[in-house]
């Protein structure tokens, strides 16, 4: 399936960029979030938070549905995992404008391109009230040697925050 060309800007930014046919510039950033696991395990966990952001939009309205974007994001994900298949990815649905459920659906759509059992996704739904729900996910390779321990820590992270 058709996807956009993208570039990687390494270093501190650790970001990929692509430009759509509508001239919208997207940034996909993988922010080092290994600190979340610090001191919780006997081995280091290389964790990155996945963030997708519109950086430039000449039309100033919400970009239209674009079928190339899911394929582009999936390709970037694969590229990033190819660098180190023992890293884990965390996704936090932005809830600042109450559109987190839409973002969760989109994110699930992107990662659905990973057919088969190569990847494992843990979805956390944290309900604050009838109007506020947070959606966070963890993705790692199914064959990760420390898979179960990392999943256990991710699930327990929230409950341990105030200890």
């Amino acid at each position: 399936m058709d996807k956009y060309d993208y570039i990687y800007v390494g270093g501190e930014n650790n970001s990929f960029y692509f430009i759509t046919d509508n001239r919208v510039v997207y940034e996909v950033k993988f922010k080092d979030s290994s600190y979340l696991f610090d001191g919780r395990l006997e081995f280091p966990v290389i964790a990155f938070e996945f963030i997708l952001e519109i950086e430039e939009n000449p039309d100033s309205v919400s970009p239209p549905l674009d079928n190339k974007i899911p394929y582009t994001v999936a390709a970037i994900f694969r590229d990033f995992f190819a660098k180190n298949d023992e890293q884990v990815i965390i996704y936090i649905c932005d809830s600042s404008d109450s559109r987190q459920a839409i973002r969760r659906r989109k994110f699930n759509q992107w990662v659905e391109f990973f057919k088969g059992n190569e990847f494992l996704k843990i979805d956390a739904e944290i309900v604050e009230s009838s109007k506020i729900t947070y959606y966070n996910s963890l993705i790692l390779k199914t064959n990760h040697p420390n898979r179960q321990t990392i999943i256990d820590v991710f699930i327990s992270l929230a409950d341990e925050q105030e200890k």
Partner: protein
């Protein structure tokens, strides 16, 4: 993709989610500033634009 889901409403989980969201907002702000001001990024975007136009 194998998916496992869990749901919680514990105050500790909510505090954790808020903390993550706050950190994400800060990162998004930094991303926008970098995009505007980092010459390495500006150059990379220009290269990508030219590459797209050539295709």
């Amino acid at each position: 993709m194998i998916t496992i889901s869990f749901k919680t409403s514990s105050p500790k989980a909510i505090a954790f989610a808020r903390k993550l969201m706050e950190s994400k907002r800060e990162t998004q702000k930094e991303m926008r500033e970098s995009y505007k001001n980092n010459p390495e990024i500006r150059n990379a975007i220009e290269r990508l634009r030219k590459q797209n136009e050539a295709n």
